[in-house]
Amino acid sequence: MAYVSIPTYSRSIPQRYALFGAKCESCLTVNFPNSISCLKCGGTRFSSIKLSGRGKIYCFTTVHRGGSPPEFSTQLNLVGAYDVAVIELEEGPRVVAQMTDCKSEELKIDLPVEATFRRIYEDEGMIRYGLKFRPVH
């Protein structure tokens, strides 16, 4: 449906599965997801850094049927509306991900959260795994 191809998805697996970011060797800014040049200074040399998965919510929304991409239709139909948040990781970069293991009412800006490995969706017969976030207990 969506069609993020296997090679495209796989290229970002170190980010999607294990939070490997790229630390710019010039300005030390942590870039995530990785890009060709540093978001801050444009530098192109990086060292790999595994991020902790801890952060806090920057903003969030609850997605109902009208607002969801078709990859998530089955999920919406069966288990209902879901929450998506932009999370500021403790190393600096922001990521966007679904929330899990919590009710919408528990969410608020600045809530401390942590990453957890989950099934995200399916495409081309493959389970696409990735990271969601949940409140820190």
């Binding site: 969030f60 607002g67 800006i109 969706y121």
Partner: protein, 390 residues
């Protein structure tokens, strides 16, 4: 190279909404025919030398070589025609391209337009297409389409500036009021604040009436070199300011979520070129794909200070009679949003308003002199601002 003056000599637009029996080419032909007929002193269509048509190509029916389809539909086969795609800002950029073609002297008469067919797709396929202009790899796979992305902007705007959810709904109420008086609008029904506040949630805090509909529609505008334009019409509408910009594709990779940098940059360019300030503008057509987008547009275009967009709508300043009437066509919210056609659709509205030709006086801005059209692609990856004047 000296840039020449450019004026608009004719505009046309289909009703936005459902056109189940017309394909994209036929839909465009309707807008084009109306534009030709709209030229005050008549225009031989063969004089059009170049055309730029904006479309996303929703549905994928004819993604490649759509220019040839337009040529056949408008009986313009032979001239150079370019399909322009910048998501929802497609025809804003098409208009820019047509302007550049005439201003640079490459041609004297150019056509800018747009078209989109969105209403003939089943829900899942439509939602797929609605998502193609967003960041696919990260935002989409986190479960968001534009409604989600704009909902995040709304939440931050509320958090950072104290904007109220109610103020979002006030935008919808205003635009529906004006849409009800616009025979070209898709939704011609006024709504109350209560209806808007109680409508079904799409992505919190955005509800159904905070989101523009999907639409079929087409628009066309004929541009002509400034002096030559007087041969075709007694009321040429001059293109005074032209601005365009881009920003990062994904919202989460931007510094600030409460402003669209592309809008700010494009706006500055247009005002600088026109040698005008915000206080000169008689009316604006802004890109209200979601109500929060209109509130942010008030700020990004400089009509009020950052964070005071909510106050502007609440104080009624964006109604006719207020400081700056915004979206008296009904906006994307009530007029509709056929993605490729919206940008030039806004140009059509401003042109008519500046000529005093709105169909109902209830939505005619009195003594309109300068108008601004603001068109945004997706969640702000691209944007154009055009300033027109009598």
């Amino acid at each position: 190279m000296e840039m020449r003056n450019v004026s608009i000599i004719g505009v046309g637009q289909t009703k936005f909404g459902d056109h189940p029996l017309l394909n994209a080419g036929e839909l465009f032909a309707q807008a084009w025919t109306e534009a030709v007929a709209n030229v005050g002193k008549g225009l031989d269509p063969k004089l059009v030398q170049e055309a730029y048509i904006g479309t996303l190509g929703v549905g994928g029916g004819q993604l490649g070589n759509f220019a040839a389809v337009v040529g056949e539909a408008a009986k313009l086969t032979g001239i150079p025609i370019t399909r322009v795609e910048n998501a929802c800002a497609s025809s804003g950029f098409a208009f820019r391209s047509a302007y550049l073609a005439v201003a640079s002297g490459i041609c004297d008469v150019a056509l800018a337009g747009g078209v989109e067919k969105m209403r003939d797709l089943p829900p899942d396929r439509l939602r797929y297409w609605l998502g193609v202009s967003g960041d696919t790899e990260w935002e989409r796979l986190a479960g968001m389409t534009f409604a989600g992305v704009y909902a995040l902007m709304a939440q931050r705007h509320i958090y950072q500036y104290g904007t109220k959810e109610e103020q979002l709904h006030m935008v919808a109420v205003k635009n529906h009021k004006y849409g009800a008086d616009n025979p070209k609008a898709q939704l011609q029904r006024a709504i109350t604040l209560e209806q808007a506040s109680k409508s079904a949630v799409v992505c919190l805090p955005l509800r159904m009436f905070d989101c523009c509909p999907t639409s079929d529609g087409a628009s066309a505008a004929i541009l002509c070199e400034g002096e030559m334009a007087k041969k075709f019409t007694d009321i040429p509408i001059r293109v005074l300011g032209v601005g365009a910009a881009t920003d990062r594709l994904a919202l989460f990779q931007r510094e600030e979520f409460t402003t669209l940098k592309a809008s700010v940059l494009a706006s500055r360019q247009a005002f600088d070129m026109a040698h005008l300030e915000q206080r000169h503008i008689s009316l604006a057509e802004v890109h209200d794909c979601f109500t929060i987008a209109e509130i942010m547009a008030y700020e990004d275009l400089g009509f009020c200070k950052k964070g005071e967009g909510g106050k502007l709508i609440e104080d009624g300043q964006t109604y006719i009679g207020g400081r700056i009437p915004v979206n008296v066509s009904g906006g994307l919210k009530a007029k509709g949003h056929p993605i490729g056609a919206t940008g030039v659709g806004q140009i059509c509205e401003i042109t008519k308003q500046l000529r005093g030709e709105a169909e109902k006086t209830s939505r005619q801005v009195p003594n309109a002199r300068y108008g601004l059209a603001h068109n945004v692609g997706g969640s702000g990856g691209t944007a154009t601002v055009h300033i027109l004047g009598r």
